[in-house]
């Protein structure tokens, strides 16, 4: 009897267990709030916004480092490390930390998706590749040799420790990418349409931007490989570069969540400590842009005084104590800041590459190699465009034709001193796109900047030539990190990147 009960119970138990123990588990483990793939038209604008920058890296990379090293801005606060050539590990790596896991990851994902879907002859594929070059060129210009061919592919290829490519190879590949991409583009509006928030699907403008970017990269090479620089510049010019301010590559930011906003604007909302550098203000003397770029901080009534006569620049390299001995006095409210009427908005456009820059590069190509016709004409067109495009910030920022003409009359093309003149204009035209200002200054040495020599600075009183890699690469990607240090040189602010040798 007992045995029967025993056996019966065990049998029942066994039966109960026959029911699969993981039934429904596969469905349960699919996230009900996520999709397993989405269309490129959703991904593209997201990546463009990542590339345009968010507050984190824009604050640290664009403003704290580049803008102060370039003496566009100055700051007495100790944490504005670039002002005095200090290394702050987290600030120095901020641009890398933000770009790779966001812009790089998603641009590689789009590229992979289009390749998987065999859409490699579509204009979208070309757009993705041009966008990809834009993202990487800023990275390599800032850090030197960087992970490129293996980067952003942890999921696609399972590579979690990408090797660093030599900048020389990266440049060669980026130029090739631009050439191939431009060739893929046709005319009219691509299918992606307004999801292309840079050019609204306009293939013609993409072509111009691809070539303009090629021109930018070509000129970067003048110090290390002038032959290649000339050849690529020729190719870019022949392919057709930007022709007016309507062709500018920019993102129109808007109010809303962080990613939608202009990151410089977000920084100015949070941190109003930066002032216009004496150096920059000096270069804006008798330049109609001074009233657009510089203004005093709002007074108690909210009035923003942008009368050029009232502006005062802050020298770089001062701190809260040493400013007391400076003739300008220690009241920071009396020093100019970026004009809050136009430049501090979170809905401001973020300019990636302007027509003005392109004209100035054409002028330089003319001076160097006799390309693209009369350099003086390009110089004038560049200056004109640089003044005219400011109205994209705000109508109030518009500079009228008379002012432009007066400026050009007072500052005619100076063939004897052309490179300095052109690149000083480039310096003025790229205000707030500090990554570009910094790269172009390292390439040309113009304008002539006098470095500061603050006690304890880490560059022996010279302007840094690059930013330092994230310190966690030493641990997380050690083999490749060690290899790049061996080939590129010590991981210092003073080490020059390949094209800057």
């Amino acid at each position: 009897m007992k045995n029967i009960i025993y056996k019966g119970v065990l049998t029942l138990f066994a039966l109960a267990m026959v029911v699969s123990c993981d039934e429904g588990f596969e469905d349960l483990n699919e996230d009900p709030t996520k999709a397993s793939q989405i269309d490129v038209k959703f991904k593209f604008p997201n990546t463009v916004l990542f590339a345009s920058g968010q507050r984190y890296e824009t604050w640290r990379g664009n403003l704290i480092y580049c803008s102060t090293m370039m003496q566009h801005l100055a700051n007495t606060q100790g944490y504005w490390s670039g002002d005095k050539y200090f290394w702050n590990a987290a600030y120095s790596s901020a641009f890398w930390d933000a770009m790779y896991p966001q812009a790089v990851k998603t641009v590689e994902d789009m590229k992979f998706q289009l390749e998987t879907e065999e859409l490699t002859s579509s204009p979208e594929y070309a757009m993705v590749r041009i966008l990809r070059v834009f993202i990487y060129h800023r990275l390599t210009d800032l850090y030197g040799d960087i992970p490129y061919s293996e980067a952003g592919k942890a999921f696609i290829e399972g590579n979690t420790r990408p090797r660093y490519d030599a900048q020389e190879d990266i440049y060669a590949d980026m130029l090739k990418e631009l050439e191939e991409s431009v060739a893929l583009l046709g005319t009219g509006t691509a299918e992606i349409g307004t999801s292309d928030i840079l050019f609204l699907g306009n293939q013609d403008q993409w072509k111009k931007w691809g070539n303009s970017l090629m021109l930018r990269l070509a000129l970067r090479l003048v110090k290390v490989d002038e032959t290649a620089a000339q050849a690529w510049a020729t190719k870019a010019i022949n392919g057709g570069v930007m022709e007016s301010n309507a062709d500018i590559a920019y993102v129109q930011h808007e109010d809303g969540n962080g990613i939608l906003q202009n990151a410089n604007g977000e920084v100015f909302t949070a941190d109003r400590s930066a002032r216009i550098s004496t150096t920059f203000l000096g270069l804006l003397e008798n330049d109609p842009r001074m009233r657009v770029y510089a203004a005093l901080p709002p007074d108690e009534t909210g009035f923003v005084n942008d009368d050029p006569a009232a502006q005062k620049g802050l020298p770089n390299g001062l701190d809260g104590t040493t400013i007391q001995d400076y003739e300008g006095g220690d009241d920071l409210a009396t020093y100019s800041e970026p004009n809050s009427k136009y430049l501090m908005s979170e809905a401001a456009p973020m300019f990636w590459q302007t027509y003005a820059e392109v004209e100035l590069m054409l002028a330089e190509a003319g001076v160097r190699w006799g390309l693209a016709g009369d350099p003086a004409a390009h110089y004038e067109a560049g200056v004109t465009a640089a003044m005219e495009y400011l109205e994209m910030y705000n109508e109030g920022a518009a500079i009228d034709a008379t002012e432009i003409a007066d400026y050009l009359a007072a500052n005619p093309f100076d063939a004897a001193n052309a490179l300095e003149q052109i690149n000083t204009e480039y310096y003025k035209a790229t205000f707030l796109n500090e990554y570009e200002t910094y790269a172009n200054w390292r390439r040309t040495g113009f304008p002539n900047l006098t470095p500061v020599n603050y006690p304890g600075n880490q560059t022996n009183g010279t302007i840094p030539r690059r930013l330092i890699y994230p310190t966690n690469e030493q641990a997380l990607n050690k083999e490749n990190y060690d290899a790049v240090i061996a080939s590129q040189g010590a991981d210092l602010l003073t080490t020059r990147v390949w094209w800057d040798q």
Binding site: P45, K105, T194, I197, S273, G456, L476
Partner: protein, 1032 residues
């Protein structure tokens, strides 16, 4: 009355004489809760005539005489003798306090004799936890149990408790144990912690359990003890049983009250008070200079100028104003009141309790209120069928949890670092005329502490229900069926506001968060208990378990208030919302079989197979399930052999187990995408979306395993007055699922793979002694000690360290896992030294910042505690001293105090310059003197060198004391009060030894993954109070 009794007894005696013939006595034996007791031995005294009760507690025995005396005995109960009087005799057995330790609650709530256990298990009585009640009751385990490392944190009473048993056993997750309450696992999820960029600790799940409701806590330390929980036992298991109703005299009402006052332990703070606010040796002369100087104490010697400008433009004497910390923080109070009613009778027992816990914390305008209701009941529903139910309802509200780590919103930062010529009371009320923050520094991130206390707000509410019911059907006297189902459901709401006018966020912002978390757990068990032969018995259970977790999270984030004064989530310019729904299920089948030979040799074998939804995916080839076996044996040699009389008890034990786990988080196997926002620029109106994973998904994940063996020896000597319990264990986790850090250049910050390997080896010693035992005076000592050696063996394919990320960040340092080192090794920037140990300096005399390297060990390997209990008549004195050795702590306070010139070491060189000597970058001898006015550059460099800010975390703490008085029963006899006691209590009163400067060695800012990293949490406190307990 006495007269009556006498007559009655005479009458009974007469009856007895009259019927002096053999007869059958029947009756029921039950426990104090009124539940029938099966298996009680009933023996006629002086004879071998005996029987035992059946599963309903009934017995029948033929006795030889009417004067017979029956002896009732059962394990864990006082042996009771009763004279026969009539044909029926019902008996209630009292639990034997002396012997209670012999029976403990083991896995699945099964009670077992300790001598049968082949593993280490420590049971702690509820009274230990309610003696000096903690807001988070589990903190009271600190220093009490060998092998259990409870770490305090600087996140206040509402914070998370970190309990690690036998060392960190996983490279991911928190290594916190599984908590089982009344048979069902409860959710111990942390709802948020401070990280590198600041934030608050939103507490854990175990804090919902009320100290006054806890009957006992069983700590199943090793795998062998917890093996029946299979995949969930890898970090140890803590089984909590709550109180149930008992038969008692009187109404069965118990009241207990405790009031504790808490104040900052100011002994810890020793900042410099010789130099005031300023820069480069100069005191501020204008408001702007004062604001620019902010927290910097690099001014001139105090008193060297008569007054200096301060943050508000007022010139005040440039002198030391005294202790800002004690001025800013108030005396906290915690009031805990519990009323409990319990009753038991024929076939039922019931207990209801209600507790109100109210805490006003040391930070102004902060505190916690928790109301707990508990109802436990048991009933015999029908013949052979019993039901037990337990339900708890907890309503918790926390106001303004402290912020820690980074300075934004963290008042602790500003209070501690304010220069000594500033009186923080002058910061009051913290609000400028225009309603914005009254700035105390040009650095927008350094906040006015009164603004953070009164204008920041952070309110969290949690409503939680935990219920379980167990139905048991005794099929025959050797076979039972049991079903148990339970639910743990809570909704937590968090509203946090960064107000309009905050310096670093002028337009403000807020967040609304809702967590809906529900755990459902069900077991079905078949139990067989059989004597196979006279000397040989077997107990077997077969079981099936299903556990599911659903965790919904809804978050609304709003930034930039439109109407400044209206703090509403719709009143914002920018909105973001997010929703996540995490669903996890795990099914298991298990068995356990125990063989006992002659009650001195025991062998138990268990096995469990678990299936994981988190490792399931269509087409996946790697397994989604794992079989976890265990075996343990115990040999009571004192029962097997004749030993000297002073050797009372001896047992050796050994156990082996394989436990482990699957992935905790769902959806890790595939790449997912989400739509994030809408972009409307240039009239487009397009949706934007991207990859949601920040870690690389891996569809080949499989369960991990943790194998452990342990041996132990348990001995008692000299009439049980001296006891020694030793345990040695060694465990190894392999194939651990690790979110390895990846180079960010790969596009992802982490990747999940089965790779982690780590080991723990340790010794646990428990020494108990009763030096004095007498009627009026007794002295008990309990000493426990643990040494755990933890080693991370494998982290990732390249042997790279793993860092938990922002949650474990110090300043230029973090806690992480490095091969060859213990878990939570501190890693950060170092000094550069030449071969002879000389420090390398830059040309300006500041030490060169070296590469990241190991700079300390965040978890102390040595932990111990000693409790002394004295009783003299009705007075009780008990105190606990606990200690930890061998650990270090990275002090963020030290880093910033160096930077701002607040710490005493920064006084060196301020008058005559600071001479340094060492080597230069080329290795040549180097010496220079940093001028006095620039001496700050040296100390500010120390801020960047993490090694300079690591401190030895060894300590001996006078943890707890209680002086109690039990009112004599004679005094209460005439009243309705049955029992009353009162005690004076104190906790964390002082250190007997400490090596840290300006911080408590137990002041981690994040208690989930980080260990040994301090960054401006709440200051350490000491508390003292009064506790009262009355029964009537």
């Amino acid at each position: 009355m006495n007269q009556m009794t006498k007559y009655l007894l005479i009458a009974l005696a007469c009856l007895g004489i009259q019927g002096a013939v053999a007869q059958t006595i029947t009756g029921t034996v039950s426990d104090e809760a009124g539940m029938p007791l099966p298996g009680v031995n009933v023996v006629e005294k002086g004879t071998s005539n005996g029987t035992s009760t059946d599963f309903d507690g009934n017995y029948a025995i033929n006795v030889s005489s009417d004067n017979a005396v029956l002896v009732f005995s059962a394990l864990g109960f006082k042996t009771t003798e009763r004279s026969v009087s009539g044909a029926s005799l019902n008996v209630t057995l009292a639990e034997d306090a002396e012997l209670l330790g012999e029976v403990v609650v083991t896995a699945l709530g099964i009670k077992k004799e300790t001598k049968a256990l082949g593993y280490s298990l420590t049971e702690v009585g509820g009274e230990k936890l309610s003696e000096v009640k903690q807001v988070n009751a589990i903190n009271a385990l600190q220093g009490q149990v060998a092998g259990v490392n409870v770490t305090g944190a600087a996140t206040g009473p509402s914070g998370t408790s970190k309990v690690v048993i036998r060392g960190v056993s996983s490279l991911s997750g928190t290594s916190q144990p599984l908590y089982i309450v009344d048979g069902i696992p409860i959710n111990n999820q942390n709802l948020g912690s401070a990280s590198r960029w600041g934030g608050s600790d939103y507490g854990d799940g175990i804090s919902s359990i009320n100290a006054d409701d806890i009957e006992s806590v069983s700590v199943l330390k090793g795998g062998a003890a917890g093996a029946l929980y299979g995949s969930r036992a890898s970090n140890g298991v803590i089984v909590i049983t709550t109180k149930s109703g008992k038969k008692q005299q009187g109404l069965g009402v118990e009241l207990s009250s405790s009031v504790q006052l808490e104040s900052v332990n100011t002994d810890l703070y020793e900042f410099q008070n010789q130099y005031g606010q300023g820069l480069n040796g100069v005191a501020p002369t204008t408001q702007q200079e004062a604001l620019d100087a902010g927290m910097q104490s690099w001014g001139s010697r105090l008193g060297s100028v008569s007054t200096a400008a301060q943050f508000d433009g007022v010139n005040r004497p440039y002198v030391d104003t005294g202790d800002n910390v004690s001025r800013y923080y108030r005396t906290a109070n915690t009031l805990i009141n519990t009323v409990a009613i319990s009753k038991a009778g024929e076939g039922y027992n019931l207990r209801f309790s209600a507790t109100d816990l109210n805490n006003n914390d040391i930070t102004p305008n902060s505190g916690l209120n928790r109301k707990s209701f508990s109802l436990n009941g048991g009933a015999v529903l029908a013949d052979k069928l019993t039901l037990d139910v337990a339900g708890k309802f907890v309503v918790e509200k926390v106001n303004n949890r402290p912020r820690s780590s980074d300075s934004p919103g963290n008042g602790n930062f500003s209070v501690v670092l304010s220069p000594s010529n500033i009186n923080v009371l002058d910061y009051q009320p913290g609000i400028a005329e225009d309603g914005t923050e009254f700035r105390i520094s040009s650095n927008t991130f350094q906040q006015n502490p009164y603004w953070t206390a009164y204008r920041f707000s952070n309110e969290s509410r949690k409503n939680r229900f935990i219920g379980s019911s167990t139905l048991r059907y005794q099929v025959t006297d050797w076979l039972y069926l049991m079903g148990r189902a339970g639910i743990d459901n809570y909704t937590a709401r968090i509203t946090s506001v960064e107000p309009f006018g905050t310096a670093y966020k002028p337009l403000g912002g807020m967040q609304e968060q809702t967590f809906n978390v529900s755990t459902v757990d069900a077991d079905f068990i078949i139990g067989i208990e059989k004597d196979i032969t006279e000397n040989f018995s077997n107990t077997t259970i077969l079981g099936a378990n299903s556990n599911s977790l659903k965790n919904e999270f809804i978050q609304l984030v709003g930034n930039e208030f439109v109407i400044p004064s209206l703090e509403d989530i719709a009143n914002v310019a920018n909105r973001q919302y997010s929703y996540s729904d995490s669903r996890v299920k795990r099914n298991g089948l298990y068995f356990s079989t125990e063989f006992a030979y002659k009650n001195y040799l025991y062998l138990t074998v268990t096995g469990r197979n678990d299936w994981f939804s988190t490792l399931s995916k269509a087409g996946k080839s790697a397994p989604n399930n794992y079989f976890y076996p265990s075996a343990n044996a115990s040999f009571v040699f004192s029962d097997a052999f004749e030993l000297p009389s002073w050797f009372n008890f001896g047992k050796v034990r050994a156990g082996y187990s394989d436990v482990g786990g699957g992935a905790n988080d769902p959806y890790q196997l595939s790449l997912n995408y989400a739509i994030n926002d809408t972009y409307n620029g240039r009239g487009t109106g397009v949706s934007i979306g991207s990859i949601s994973n920040s870690g690389v998904p891996n569809e080949n994940l499989e369960p991990f395993s943790k194998k452990e063996y342990e041996v132990g020896l348990d001995m008692r000597f000299l009439n049980n007055r001296l006891g020694l319990d030793l345990a040695y264990y060694s465990n190894k986790t392999t194939n651990d699922i690790v979110g390895i850090n990846t180079s960010q250049a790969s596009g992802y910050n982490s990747a999940f793979i089965n790779i982690g390997e780590l080991t723990n080896k340790g010794v646990e010693v428990l020494l108990t002694g009763k030096p004095v035992v007498s009627e009026n005076f007794s002295w008990d000592i309990n000493y426990n000690m643990t040494y755990n050696e933890n080693e991370v063996v494998k982290t990732d394919p390249d042997g790279n360290p793993i860092f938990p990320g922002d949650a474990a960040y110090g300043v230029n340092s973090q806690a992480g896992y490095l091969e060859g080192y213990p878990a939570a090794t501190l890693y950060g920037t170092t000094f550069v030294r030449d071969e002879d140990g000389n420090i390398q300096y830059d040309s300006d005399g500041t030490p060169t910042v070296g590469d990241n390297d190991v700079i300390g060990n965040g978890i102390a390997p040595w932990t111990m505690g000693i409790t002394n209990t004295f009783r003299y008549k009705n007075v009780n004195l008990s105190f606990l001293i606990d200690a930890k050795f061998g650990g270090e702590i990275f002090s963020g306070t030290s880093a910033f105090a160096n930077f701002y010139g607040a710490s005493k070491n920064t006084l060196v060189g301020r008058e005559n310059g600071l001479p340094v000597s060492g080597v230069d970058a080329d290795g040549n001898a180097f010496s220079t003197t940093i001028p006095a006015e620039n001496v700050n550059i040296y100390y500010q460099r120390l801020y960047s060198i993490a090694e300079a800010n690591v401190q030895d975390a060894d300590f001996i703490k006078f943890r707890q004391i209680s002086l109690g008085y039990q009112f004599p029963s004679a005094m209460l006899e005439k009243t309705f009060i049955k029992n009353a006691s009162i005690s004076l209590i104190g906790r964390n009163l002082f250190f007997l030894m400490r090596k840290t400067e300006n911080i408590d060695p137990e002041s981690a800012y994040n208690n989930t993954v980080a260990n040994g990293i301090e960054r401006f949490g709440l200051p350490s406190t000491r508390s003292y109070g009064l506790s009262l307990n009355v029964k009537f």
